[in-house]
Symmetry: C3
Subunit: 163 residues, 3 copies
């Protein structure tokens, strides 16, 4: 039986948010949308660790206001938001052929070196949900000097959808 | 009658620059090009708020040297440059199926939180020109610690072109 | 006779690394992969100036710990790593239709303005190897406040592969 990301997400008890309502992005600007699909390439808009009613998990500077462990919680929460956006875009997580790659922006000070540990909390969740074939991603982790509302993490993900 | 981005740009009186001459990028390196199209995916090179003869609008750090309002002018100017690059790539703005998404880099100090207000000036112009179907974009706004020549804004945009 | 990037790389005596073994990314997280191809679009994972056994070339902050010339060496080394990843993905550099674009992240302090000079060392190598048709790239150079292990440079590249 093939791996079902929807079933695996259910087994994990993930609280995957619904991006149909309220629409994505309204808090940040009226000209935004959640995703675009060009052929089989799905490009997601930026995702941060905020709940659908706008509460950010662990805002602040990682390595100063926010611990690495808290930032990992925020990165994992962001990945769960990404699952919601993918489901909203494709109807089901099972419509993913494979993740392509994700830029992970970490709000952090100069000298912070543990960005990969933060990003791993997102990547590891994707691997668990989508499995070893579809769930691995290309990645870069980049220290940002600022993010809107001082979110501690932001994900910029692309993936391949079924034709 | 379908929405025409070219007509709307004309109505708005936008001074859209010509990227045919001088070629894009020569100021920064001889190995650069303006865009690449893979299938219907158009990936634009980085765009900054500089005129074709190289004068940057409002260089400097947003929130320190540059006000948010000035940064918004720079972001809108960058979006107009993007229109020029799209027209150069596709022949006409009317060849755009839809914007996909854009990374917006804002040169700013730690603690700056109003990145989305800066980026909105670019997104709102795109929405006006391309209309509600094609003109919405996915987006993330990222604080950069430095940009070449201290440009205060840089846009990294992808979009879908007509087949 | 058409330009052969493989032949040109051989003429230049480039020591292109093998990404088959050890697999890409294991140092940073077990959920990573090196690349993904969606149709003819090849999206590479982030590349840094480290050897296959993990030694970073010139780690540190460009303009402080690391000179621009050292950062250029690191950027060129990163581009050679990208050649290895492309060969690993496609079997041969000759399977590249053209580079699309690359984000170049430079670890640097506020006020650093010479990011393009660093990135040019990567772009110029690509131009030399792939030639004037396939080897030009779209680009943006972004100052990062931090990168994992204080790599001084990271490349995020997309390109078009032969169908």
């Amino acid at each position: 039986m093939p791996h079902s990301p929807e079933q695996r997400a259910h087994e994990l008890g993930l609280a995957i948010p619904d991006y149909a309502n309220p629409p994505y992005g309204g808090r940040y600007g009226s000209a935004l949308k959640a995703f675009h699909r060009t052929g089989d390439l799905l490009e997601l808009s930026g995702l941060t660790p905020d709940s659908r009613d706008g509460v950010l998990l662990h805002p602040g500077v990682v390595g100063a206001d926010v611990t690495v462990e808290q930032a990992r919680e925020a990165a994992r929460f962001t990945a769960i938001n990404a699952l919601g956006l993918i489901r909203y875009a494709l109807g089901s997580l099972d419509e993913v052929v494979a993740l392509s790659r994700g830029l992970c922006f970490v709000l952090c000070p100069p000298g912070f070196e543990r960005l990969n540990e933060v990003s791993n909390a997102a990547s590891d969740l994707f691997l668990d949900v989508f499995g070893p074939v579809a769930g691995r991603m290309g990645r870069a982790s980049i220290g940002a000097t600022a993010l809107t509302r001082s979110a501690c993490f932001e994900l910029w993900l692309s993936l391949e959808a079924r034709g």
